[in-house]
Symmetry: none
Subunit: 154 residues, 2 copies
DNA sequence: AGGCATAAGGTCAGTATTAGTCAGAAAGCG
DNA sequence: CGCTTTCTGACTAATACTGACCTTATGCCT
């Protein structure tokens, strides 16, 4: 956690956790001012870290009284939702898609940071050594690992 | 007679030992500067000496605030033979070979009967849906799963 | 109602800052 | 000498950050 983006991300997540309904509303200009950066920096953080794929919903309005609202998808049963997420992985999975899936599961406490690290390492090991079909193999390995973790919990 | 790579390796391992959680973060450019070498030398050392096989997990990020993070997982003595077994799995693994590996690990209490069943199911699910290269995919998935299980015990 | 001022937020392309890759040179070792 | 390991540097890729310019909403004033 070192860059400005990381700090803004952490700040927003902190606000979300302390909110009543997993949803907060903020002013872009105010945020930019608080963190001493240009307003578009906030957009950058939102678009790279608070995506739908990671379980976040961002709405906004311009003009007077404008705002940015960030919601965190919360599902009653983490288990069934995680399984659904896995099922949604197709026959191929890019590196970026994988990161999104892992970020989602970490943010929903399905996997620990330590497990995330280990999974990354294993995937890198397996996928790195081949020249073709990386996305296909990545999909299989990730699905296998995550399925194992999720099933082991029940 | 030790090479520059050896020194870098020793330095990193020293840092790891003195770290709190068997994990350190470093800057590639900084390291290269400290050792008066080109940055890619660091990659060379990492790829030849800090492999997953040896219990190291290397993650990195490019761009502003980029880093290289190295984690070390200590495998208990009773599991070193299991790791060796995994290493002996080549690029392909037949169904029969897989059963032998699983039986061995079950007999040595590395995996439980329940886990064995789960692993079989997962592999079947992943491998069953493709027409070519079953043995290759099976090798990867099995290696990934078993590695995860073994490392998780540390 | 129409027009204009003000007050938000959005986009995008360019710059800066890291790290990764790979082929080939150099060095070490039978 | 031939093979393996180490080392280098040019090129590539990813991520972070900035600022100029654009779009949309609100309200006030005629």
């Amino acid at each position: 956690m070192s860059t400005l983006s990381d700090h803004i991300e952490a700040y927003i997540k902190r606000m979300l956790r302390s909110s009543q309904d997993n949803s907060i509303e903020l002013s872009r200009a105010q945020m930019a001012d608080d963190f001493s950066c240009v307003p578009s920096q906030i957009n950058y953080v939102l678009s790279t870290r608070f995506t739908l794929e990671r379980g976040y919903i961002v709405e906004s309005r311009r003009g007077g009284g404008g705002y940015i609202r960030i919601g965190h998808v919360q599902v009653g049963d983490d288990h069934t939702h995680a399984v659904r997420l896995l099922q949604s992985i197709g026959s191929e999975l890019s590196e970026k898609q994988m990161e999104n899936v892992l970020a989602y599961l970490k943010d929903h406490h399905v996997i620990s940071p330590k497990q995330l690290q280990l999974i990354r390492g294993i995937v890198q090991q397996e996928v790195g050594s081949i020249s073709q079909g990386k996305d296909v193999l990545r999909a299989s390995v990730i699905r296998a690992l995550l399925f194992f973790i999720i099933e082991s919990k029940s």
